[in-house]
């Protein structure tokens, strides 16, 4: 157990911070730790959490995905057309929504791999295209999502918020097994050293393509879950999520230079970010001062993350 905590120091710290924050939040909330409070909190956290997962897959291979928010907007508008009607149609619609996200990610990956352009620039340009497509679908917010389905996904099962169950599924049923697969290891290899990965026989192009496709899938899932929470389609949701997803992965201990961090950390970072925002709401700080405090806390948290510099024994160690 101690060994595990040591080798996953970053995730453990993020999780501890999250628990403290959550306890404070539930303590200060006028309605206390009720299922209702937990459900709303978990829903907000999971939207950003899935976006952070998307960002994680791009960042872990030493890339970045500035189109996360745009893919969310696009899949959200698609969902607002497809997620109403017969049960079979809705099921196909959900697959189509996530599939659209995967296609967006695949497009990003293909341009990055075969066009040999930096991910930050590629996703900047494709984000504009994806937002344009979303605007074509929904020039103004509208559409509907089946209420029964939305309720099932955003309320609770036996008192446990569904969003937390989904989080657990993502971690235990997807991430933990996935990390041990060849592709899972390949992501870290590619992020740590592309040359070494290539020389050990990893098909770096395929791995990078897969990483960005996974990013697209998770952005699609985030858009899908966002649709369940809001039950409408809106093409304008993107910008905030892109930047917040980057902040979330960094808070969760994922290094932007690639190869370090985990999906659990990314999720924890997103939950921390959203919990801080919710805490602000009930903290008694004047509402006009809240954005400033949010910014200060974000900067403070990131600066503490940067305190590793102080432990460097040799000045050269900081130039990594």
């Amino acid at each position: 157990m101690l060994e595990y905590a040591k080798s996953n120091r970053r995730e453990v710290i993020a999780a501890a911070v999250l628990i403290v924050l959550l306890a404070t939040y539930l303590g200060t909330h006028p309605r206390g730790a009720s299922t209702y409070v937990m459900t709303i909190w978990a829903n907000q956290c999971l939207i950003l959490g899935l976006a952070a997962c998307a960002q994680f897959f791009a960042v872990v291979v030493r890339g970045i995905d500035l189109s996360v928010g745009a893919v969310m907007a696009l899949t959200n508008t698609i969902a607002s057309y497809l997620l109403d009607g017969s049960a079979g149609g809705i099921a196909l619609g959900m697959i189509a929504v996530v599939g659209a996200g995967a296609l967006c990610g695949l497009l990003n990956g293909a341009i990055i791999v075969f066009g040999r352009i930096q991910p930050i620039v590629v996703t900047l340009a494709t984000a504009s295209i994806f937002v344009g497509l979303a605007l074509l679908l929904r020039p103004t917010p509208g559409g509907a999502v089946n209420y029964d389905l939305a309720d099932a996904m955003t309320l609770d099962v036996l008192g446990i918020p569904t969003a937390l169950i989904i989080t657990a599924v993502v971690v235990f049923a997807f991430w933990l097994p996935f990390r041990r697969t060849g592709l899972g290891l390949g992501l870290y290899a590619l992020g740590s050293s592309e040359q070494a990965a290539f020389q050990s026989g990893i098909d770096t192009r395929l791995v990078r393509l897969a990483a960005f496709t996974l990013a697209g899938i998770f952005a699609g899932l985030a858009g899908l879950f966002y649709s369940f929470v809001t039950t409408t389609g809106d093409a304008g949701i993107g910008p905030g999520f892109t930047l917040n997803s980057i902040a979330a992965v960094v808070l969760g201990g994922v290094l932007l230079r690639g190869g370090v961090g985990s999906l659990v950390g990314a999720l924890a970072g997103a939950f921390i970010l959203k919990t801080i925002a919710s805490l602000m709401f009930f903290s008694g700080i004047p509402s006009l001062a809240q954005p400033l405090f949010e910014g200060l806390i974000l900067a403070g948290a990131i600066a503490i993350g940067g305190a590793d510099v102080l432990r460097a024994r040799n000045k050269l160690e900081v130039f990594k």
Partner: protein, 318 residues
């Protein structure tokens, strides 16, 4: 002089100029007035706002970093300067522009501190600084549009003209010429690029790399602030989120201009072309009354096409 010019002008940096000419020619088929002097000088005037932001961004990107605090440095400078003029105090009115520039430099130093001393990735640290500035602005203005007005000097900087050329364009070009000289002829310029290539090696050759980072971010902050002051002069007011639509076009302008996002390679000559190209593209798309959706799609596709063309050309040359 010739050496300075030949080093600043590369084939990559000529691309956006060719693109801009192609845009004007293509646009003139649909709308002949695109070729009129009025239209083109107006484009030069508007391009200066994006251009100044992109000038600062180029300096930071050459260093191998990125500055995401542009939107709220711009907005903050605009709010600060219009509020100072709005007090009606003549001394404060005169000091409005210098104060805004000082504000930009100060934020630049804060950016530089996080990046150079705390070694936080610039992409996250400048993002955090951006959200703190947003918070300050909201606290300061109560979330409403700030009151205040532009001084005659700010209006002249944005809308005045000299010998038929917009003053804003001339200011932009003057800043670019000055900074190009700094980049090509001074040690600072060489250190900047060499940090972009390899920070460790630069540090080992005895360069005080943190001070270069500080200076670069301060220059970028001042460029953003100048852009903000001039935009406030153009609109005769400051308003919340006035900088947000500029962030991504700024980066796009730098990259289209042939500056490598990884740092080290590129220059301001290309950025001028990039800013002109993007301003023209936006303007012609809106002249053609294309809807918001298609404008976004075409905008993204054209930027991608230009980037692909650049790398393909390099691939063929190797």
């Amino acid at each position: 002089m010739i050496r300075t010019v030949s080093r600043a002008v590369t084939l990559d940096s000529l691309m956006p100029y060719l693109g801009a000419v192609a845009l004007i020619i293509a646009g003139s088929f649909f709308f002949p007035q695109v070729l009129s002097v009025d239209y083109l000088t107006q484009q030069l005037q508007i391009a200066a706002f994006l251009g100044l932001l992109a000038t600062g961004a180029t300096i930071v990107i050459l260093l191998g970093h990125i500055d995401l605090s542009v939107p709220w440095v711009l907005t903050g400078a605009a709010i600060l300067s219009t509020a100072m003029v709005g007090t009606g105090n003549p001394v404060l009115s005169v000091l409005a522009v210098p104060a805004a520039l000082a504000f930009g430099a100060l934020i630049g130093l804060i950016n530089g501190m996080g990046v150079a001393i705390l070694r936080i990735p610039s992409m996250v640290w400048t993002l955090a600084v951006n959200s703190m500035l947003l918070g300050l602005a909201v606290l300061n203005t109560g979330g409403f549009n700030p009151r205040g007005e532009s001084s005659p000097l700010m209006v002249a900087m944005a809308s005045g003209d000299v010998l038929g050329l917009p003053l804003s364009f001339l200011i932009w070009i003057a800043v670019c010429v000055g900074l190009t000289w700094v980049l090509v002829r001074t040690p600072f310029g060489r250190y900047l690029r060499s940090i972009g290539f390899n920070e460790k090696a630069t540090f080992l050759s005895g360069v005080s790399t943190p001070s270069v980072v500080f200076a670069a971010f301060a220059i970028a902050g001042m460029c953003s602030a100048l852009g903000g002051v001039m935009l406030a002069g153009y609109a005769n007011q400051a308003y919340q989120s006035m900088g947000d639509p500029f962030l991504l076009p700024t980066i796009a302008a730098v990259v289209i201009g042939g500056t490598s996002i990884l740092g080290g390679r590129g220059g301001l000559f290309g950025t001028i072309g990039g800013a002109l190209f993007i301003t023209l593209l936006t303007s012609i798309l809106s002249v053609m009354q294309i809807g918001d959706a298609w404008r976004n799609i075409i905008f993204g596709a054209i930027i991608l096409a230009m980037l692909l063309f650049q790398t393909l050309r390099k691939g063929a040359a190797q």
